[in-house]
């Protein structure tokens, strides 16, 4: 582009030059057009009625909300409207009508009836004036000089140290979030040696050496001969269902039960013994029945999403997939460690028992374990 096409400017002069004969004269703003409600009193009256009826609708909705709250039954046998819970549906509908009526009414009010000025706001620079900025910088400079921060580094450094440690205080208080887990992450309730005295007293009455594996929820023992190929059993250690013979109260209960369950839950799966790949899985199984932790090694979701055709166990949370034929090897997904396998056996009466605890911590990795 040649300079011929640029507008004529006066070099070295910041003054804005207005050409005497402007080829495109500034047309100015167009004449203001009024709204029908501004020029027609009938239209204004109509808009007023519209807004008022919208607010009236909102009022009805609010009254309906209170009425629905009082009228409709909730609980075990709730009232229904078209197979939906009447209370929830009506409360929601009435609240929606109220809020919508108020909102639409206000917008209608503003658009049709509130004053109709057109406002032009010119742009201006956002920064402060040059003098203000210089004054601020000089104040800071004077402060720096008078405090002598630059000349006395000892004061500066000790202040920085105190402030830094002050920042650490909230971090230290995070310690109050709970007790340290100590060794509990390394064993589960499958390990009889770690039991409480009450659990051990119950175990004395059972006259057995190895803990039986029981079905979850119902707590019944599992006979190895009763499982068919393709069976998947969600199971627990039998002490979970132990009941004190005198008081008839469960021995493991409350928080303790939930914590133990979240670590000790297992799945049993029976497959053709010839499907098993790894020596560990074969040695720790009974006639093709394998037992694995039910807790995913990624973030600890319970997993029992198994395909009997492939023996792949999938976690529904993040799709980690474990191979039950091959020591719980990770086939896919974010899990970093194989699924821990539990070594099982059959006792004299034919029931499945755990030979010992898991040989590694179950569930997600943690700080000390890495």
């Amino acid at each position: 582009m040649s300079s011929d096409h640029l507008p004529e400017t006066t070099h070295g002069d910041a003054q804005h030059v207005v050409s005497a004969h402007d080829p495109l004269p500034d047309p100015g703003l167009p004449a203001h057009q009024w709204r029908p409600t501004d020029v027609d009193p009938k239209a204004a009256k109509r808009a007023e009625r519209q807004v008022a009826s919208l607010f009236g609708l909102a009022l009805l909705g609010a009254i309906g909300f209170i009425a629905s709250y009082v009228i409709f039954k909730v609980g075990d046998h709730p009232d229904t409207i078209g197979n939906l819970g009447a209370s929830n549906v009506m409360l929601g509908l009435c609240l929606a009508v109220t809020l919508l009526g108020m909102g639409v009414g206000m917008i209608q009010w503003a658009r049709k009836l509130m004053s109709d000025h057109e406002i032009v706001e010119m742009r201006h620079p956002a920064s402060s004036s040059q003098e203000d900025r210089e004054a601020a910088v000089s104040i800071l400079q004077v402060g720096l000089e008078e405090s002598g921060l630059g000349r006395r580094p000892l004061i500066r450094n000790s202040l920085l140290a105190a402030g830094g440690v002050l920042g650490l205080l909230p971090v230290v208080m995070l310690r109050d979030l709970g007790p340290l887990p100590h060794h509990t992450l390394y064993h589960t309730i499958w390990d009889i040696d770690t039991w409480t005295p009450e659990m051990k007293a119950w175990w004395q009455t059972q006259n057995r050496t190895q803990q039986r594996i029981v079905r979850d929820v119902v707590g019944t023992w599992i006979k190895a001969s009763e499982l068919e190929i393709g069976d998947l059993v969600n199971a627990e250690p039998e002490v979970m269902f132990a009941v004190d013979q005198e008081t008839k109260q469960p021995i493991v209960e409350g928080t303790e039960l939930l914590v133990d369950k979240s670590k000790a839950a297992v799945i049993l799966h029976r497959m053709l013994p010839s499907d098993i790949v790894s020596a560990q899985t074969r040695n720790w199984s009974v006639d093709g029945i394998v037992c694995y932790s039910k807790i995913c090694t990624h973030v600890g979701c319970p997993i029992s999403l198994n395909e009997r055709t492939t023996h792949h166990l999938l976690c529904p949370c993040h799709q980690s997939t474990f191979d039950l034929t091959d020591s719980g090897r990770v086939l896919f997904g974010p899990a970093a460690r194989p699924l821990p396998q539990l070594e099982i056996d059959v006792d004299d009466e034919g029931y499945l028992v755990a030979k010992r605890d898991f040989t590694e911590p179950v569930g997600p990795s943690f700080w000390e374990r890495g």
């Binding site: 009024w34 939906l84 119902v218 059993v233 999403l305 395909e307």
Partner: protein, 289 residues
Amino acid sequence: MRLLNRPLGRLSRHRRGPVAGLLVVLLGLMLTGGLYAAFSPASSARENDSAAQIKKGHQLFLVGCSFCHGNNGQGVKTLDGNQLGPPLAGVGAAAVDFQVGTGRMPAVQPGPQMPQKKPVYTQDEIDELAAYVASLGPGPDVPNPADYSLAGLSAEQRQEAITRGGEIFLTNCTACHNFEGSGGAMPKGGFAPKIRGVEPKYIFEAMLTGPQAMDNFSNGNLSVEEKRDVIAYLQSIQDNPEYGGFGMGGIGPVSEGMFAWIVGIGSLVGVATWIAAHTARSSKQKAES
């Protein structure tokens, strides 16, 4: 005595006749068979399948099933070692009743999973096919309706059964079939079907036989009563009103999020556009201005 003796005497005259021996043997055989049928345990593997039923079942099998499962149900492998149709010895009548009764079999084409469709065979034909497949090897029989019905339980016992069934369902089934039985996705193109609203017989058979990629829940795994309780729970959530409002298929955050984004935010955008675009202006001027 004479009245009684007379017919016996008349019969006795024929005792040395040419067909007498044959008749006596036949009578003896029929008596033995009849007594055995009357007193043998009814549950022991499908004795009431007649040979004719099995034969007809085999004929149906040859036409409809043998392409993938082989002429004698031995299964067929493709040249590259994949299983086209699995061997059927030992799958039992329950598996046939489930697969054919829900229309999953005969399959239209091979694939990761056979979807449910309109059944092709009548119940009589399904029974014949089941009789044939059951004759290949011992397997689970079609369950007795008494096994999965709550009839004969008091209201309190029913409520207990539903509660226990719910716990068993949440422990064993929800991983694949979703927390209210709406089904879910499985690896490699498979899916766990929706099991709300399925006939109790088919739910029972599915647990018993473990169709396709599903695990077995044989009677040694979950007892008959436990399976019955699961079915009772599923039926109870089917009858329950949707207390929280429209459930959107009960498949969790996917449909709910879609609803919020498309319907909720979409309608807000629509209203905002309408407000901005709708600027009615009059050409008239104000009288006083």
